[in-house]
């Protein structure tokens, strides 16, 4: 029998690889070994919240020092844990090896000092993380501070960077971080945590990070761990099934921060169709947002609404754009996009059915599982729009701006827009309909990073406990000195 890969647990600076039991192996997935969750469960919670105190004995700069060093340590060429995790993840990751390797290689850049400082400043300004921020309000002196919490992260496994994001968010908020590894990425976050144990085993940040795998929905395990005396917040990524496992434990004292599954769309304005040069550029931008990481992310574009009109000329232009998109997508560099690992057979059935209906649709490519461009001839998305994946995009002709609103609902994360100026026209109505992020088309994967808002919430602010200290001013009236009829409570 071949040697099975191991996903060790890392708990507060200690690597645990004993009492291994087997997980996974269903539905064509690889199986792996991990420590029996029931044997380590008692070590996962922090116990007393006062144990968070060590994180308050270091400065924000020291936190940045640590993260910066972690970034250096994660350099792919020198880090054996990461190399091994990457190799093992070829079997579990939805993307192909060249893309996965490039995601691993770009991880150190996430830890750049100024990058972290900037996203903190735009989300929870650093003074609130460093100490008490004093202001005056309604005659009182008020001091506000953002405290860290004991936080459990149920992370998504479609991108290896998500565990790293969770570690960083825990560190800057001075929280205690427990990460539940997903079955589609059981190795990456553990490798990051092992790196931390290697270079700073006794550092408070290392001591406040734990990573383990248990089967999502293991009631015996989760009902013991998911208790307000163990954790205060659960950050749950991903689909309804994973969130549903969690919601039954939500109660006063245990808060859910839900990062719902999302999909993304694009809008191409009439100005972008004026010249063949613009058309080429629009195609390159669409191809990038569709093809990057093989369309496996929430930010991946799946529907493109094009203001070309629905008359014959409009459809002809759209068809031309579709062929260019296909061509550009096939030409993307292999560390950004490749032929998909496998092509969803159900999606292929959908695409092939449309191929026969050339009155209504044109299908470009897709015969070989390489990805496809579906050009609608009517102003509506294909009925399987929700299932578009594996580099399959649907271009939809529209006559009016209002029709584009159909593209957007509460599941919509990113809307890529070209020409960029069109954002001004679109963003208000689209925000009302549910869109959460507007970018220049082609930049869905090449932005400033998660600087604050994500999926229309501010997860880092939500991870904090916001504490206030109120000091009466000279004008404040003591209630105990009032007579009957003079009562004036402030809300």
């Amino acid at each position: 029998m071949p040697k099975q890969p191991i996903s060790p647990a890392v708990i507060r600076g200690q690597v645990i690889d004993s009492d291994l039991v087997e997980f996974g192996g269903r539905g064509g997935d690889i199986s792996f070994l991990a420590p029996d969750p029931h044997k380590i469960i008692d070590r996962l919670p922090l116990g007393s919240p006062s144990k968070l105190d060590d994180l308050y004995r270091i400065s924000f700069d020291e936190i940045l020092d640590y993260l910066e060093e972690l970034g250096r340590q994660l350099a792919f060429d020198r880090n054996e844990h990461m190399q091994e995790a990457c190799e093992l993840s070829y079997g579990t990751a939805p993307v192909t090896p060249p893309i996965l390797r490039s995601l691993y290689q770009s991880m150190p850049a996430m830890f750049e000092r100024e990058r972290i400082r900037t996203w903190c400043e735009t989300s929870v300004p650093i003074p609130y993380l460093e100490g008490w921020v004093e202001t005056q309000a309604n005659g009182f002196d008020v001091a506000v501070r953002a405290y860290g919490s004991r936080c459990l992260h149920v992370v998504a496994g479609n991108a290896p960077s998500i565990g790293a994001v969770s570690v960083m968010r825990g560190a800057v908020t001075r929280g205690d971080t427990i990460i539940k590894a997903p079955s589609n990425d059981p190795f990456t976050t553990g490798a990051i945590a092992r790196t931390m144990c290697d270079f700073a085993p006794d550092h408070p940040i290392t001591k406040h990070v734990s990573v383990a795998y248990w089967r999502g929905g293991d009631e015996e395990f989760e009902s013991r761990l998911y208790q307000p005396h163990n954790i205060e917040k659960i950050v749950a990524w991903g689909g309804f099934a994973s969130v549903k496992h969690v919601t039954k434990y939500i109660q006063p004292g245990l808060e859910l921060i839900s990062l719902d599954p999302k999909r993304s769309a694009a809008v191409v304005g009439a100005d972008a169709l004026e010249s063949s040069q613009m058309l080429e550029e629009a195609a390159a931008r669409i191809a990038t947002d569709v093809g990057a990481v093989n369309q496996n992310a929430c930010a991946s574009c799946r529907l493109v609404y094009v203001m070309c009109g629905t008359d014959d000329d409009g459809i002809a232009t759209l068809s031309k754009l579709g062929k260019l998109v296909y061509e550009k997508m096939m030409g993307l560099p292999p560390d950004l996009s490749t032929k998909p690992k496998s092509y969803d057979p159900s999606l292929k059935a959908d695409v092939d059915a449309l191929r026969l209906m050339d009155d209504w649709y044109e299908v470009i490519g897709g015969e070989d599982g390489e990805g496809a461009v579906i050009v609608s001839h009517t102003p509506e998305a294909v009925d399987f729009a929700d299932a578009l994946d594996d580099r399959t995009v649907n271009l939809i002709p529209v006559d009016t701006m209002d029709e584009i609103l159909d593209a957007v609902d509460a599941y919509t994360q990113t809307v890529g827009v070209f020409p960029h100026e069109l954002i001004g026209e679109l963003r208000h109505k689209m925000s009302l309909h549910g869109a959460q992020r507007f970018v220049s088309l082609g930049y869905a994967f090449n932005g400033p990073g998660v600087i604050g808002p994500q999926d229309a919430i501010e997860p880092v602010r939500r991870m904090c406990k916001w504490i206030v200290v109120e000091t009466p001013g000279e004008q404040s009236v003591p209630l105990w000195e009032l007579q009957e009829g003079e009562l004036a409570l402030s809300p």
Partner: protein
């Protein structure tokens, strides 16, 4: 191919095979003398030789009649079949039957829908004037009145409705095939009663309708009750509305999108929302009351009962508790199936139903709207293939046909040689296990499908693979969860 050398001169053998193939195409039941035993006793070689010949004839014939098939066959550059598996690239995805833009329905463009449907059927629909049609029921009724078609609708989770071109003859053949296979004892020749006796039909369904459900009443009335209205007992004396079914699907789809104002159906249909709600609320109690009433009226009669397991079980268990059992007369048949989703029946539910109705077994079948013939479950819960239904088990990943030997699990695809309303080749969304070689203890020589059948769409996701990209499965689950309250 069957070896012609063994059976006589090649020419005579080929002519024989071709004659049989034409017989299967024209009316397989008549070809087999309306005999269940004859249907399921053919040697494998003969079955496959005839299947190949029939598919070859149909490929030539339909290619000239069905534009979508011509397009597919041209693209695949296939002109002749040399083996059964050569047909695999020419099977239609079941999704083809809903491959029209949704707006054609919401904008009531029945002219364009007719044009779309016309590309899928050998019958010429271009002369049908649908300009006055203002509902799906009206449109399909018009097609039924003026052409051989009786198209069948079905609606899925995405809110799209599929239209499958069946003919009235296809429906008749379906129910006649059912009669032959559930009334006749395998191994015996058909009796006069098997073929001609009037049976009471009891089904908690509708007077009419453009769907599998709606077809049970009228066609069972014709085939089992021999057209005698006093022998047809249905719960709802009206047509099962395709428009309301579509409205229900669109409402679900809109709710899943989180914006109930985006229900893109015509105003007149949206106004029927109250009617839909009322039907939804009243139906279970009315169906239950109907069965309770009918078992009293039909006490001791020979009955064909068709319904879903939970409903029959509910009536049967309360009946037994009141001391009522063996309500139907000898030779009655009870067909159950489906409806079990979300309802957990006790392990002995089938014993309860059998004791109450007074039958020694329950019949089950495997079929779908997009196929004419039903596969009837035998005494050993195997769904046997009638010889005119060619089964392909496709590799779920590659779509390639798996060898026609041993036991194979994969995606089910069929070629129904008897189907007349459209191309008979269909790729389903079902995961099945086929048994090619091990003979069934029931004595039928035909290959069969094991009882356990699931949809591939229900198998996706699973475990705790978490992704930040939204998938339809995640939303379907959300919908199920909401509907459970």
């Amino acid at each position: 191919m069957a070896s012609a050398q063994e059976t006589g001169s090649p020419r005579t053998a080929d002519a024989e095979v071709e004659r049989n193939a034409l017989g299967w195409i024209a009316n397989p039941l008549e070809h087999f003398g309306m005999s269940n035993t004859a249907i399921h006793s053919l040697p494998r070689e003969e079955v496959e030789a005839t299947q190949l010949a029939a598919m070859q004839i149909l490929l030539e014939r339909r290619r000239a009649q069905i534009p979508v098939l011509a397009k597919l066959a041209d693209a695949q550059e296939i002109h002749a079949l040399h083996a059964i598996d050569d047909m695999a690239p020419l099977l239609f995805e079941h999704k083809v039957y809903k491959s029209y833009p949704i707006s054609l329905l919401s904008k009531q463009r029945f002219d364009q829908l007719t044009q779309w449907l016309n590309r899928l059927t050998p019958y010429d629909l271009s002369a049908v004037d649908v300009s006055q049609c203002d509902s799906i029921d009206g449109w399909l009724g018009k097609l039924r009145d003026e052409t051989p078609l009786d198209a069948a609708t079905s609606s899925g989770t995405s809110g799209t409705m599929s239209f499958f071109p069946k003919t009235k003859g296809d429906y008749r053949l379906c129910y006649e095939g059912l009669r032959v296979q559930v009334l006749q004892k395998f191994g015996d020749a058909p009796t006069d009663a098997d073929l001609n006796e009037k049976l009471h039909v009891m089904t908690p369904t509708y007077r009419d309708g453009h769907s599998s459900l709606g077809s049970i009443g009228p066609y069972c009335g014709e085939v089992f009750a021999k057209g005698d209205p006093d022998y047809l007992h249905i719960a709802f004396d009206y047509k099962h509305s395709a428009d309301l079914a579509w409205l229900a699907a669109r409402l679900n789809a809109a709710a899943a999108k989180g914006d109930v104002t985006k229900v893109d159906v015509p105003e007149a249909l949206l106004a029927r929302r109250g009617e839909l709600e009322r039907i939804r609320q009243e139906s279970p109690a009315l169906q239950s009351a109907f069965i309770r009433k009918m078992v009293k009226e039909l006490n001791g009669e020979r009955v064909l009962a068709i319904g879903v397991s939970p409903l029959f079980h509910e009536v049967a268990s309360s009946g037994l508790a009141e001391g009522v059992s063996n309500v139907f007369g000898p030779g009655s048949r009870v067909l159950t199936g489906g409806g079990g989703k979300g309802v957990v029946l006790p392990d002995d539910w089938d014993e309860t139903v059998k004791n109450f109705f007074g039958v020694d077994r329950l019949f089950n079948n495997y079929g779908m709207t997009e196929m004419t013939s039903l596969l009837i479950g035998c005494e050993h819960d195997h769904y046997h293939l009638p010889p005119w239904v060619v089964l392909f088990v496709l590799d779920p990943e590659t779509g390639q046909p798996m060898p026609r030997t041993g036991s194979r699990t994969g995606r089910a695809a069929f070629f129904d040689i008897s189907h007349d309303g459209t191309w008979g080749g269909l790729i389903t969304g079902d995961k099945i296990t086929a048994e090619w070689d091990t003979p069934c203890p029931c004595g039928r020589s035909s290959a069969y499908v094991e009882e356990q059948i699931v949809r591939f769409s229900e198998l996706q996701g699973g475990d705790d693979k978490i992704t930040c990209a939204a998938t339809p499965a995640a939303q379907a689950e959300a919908l199920d969860y909401l509907n459970a309250f």
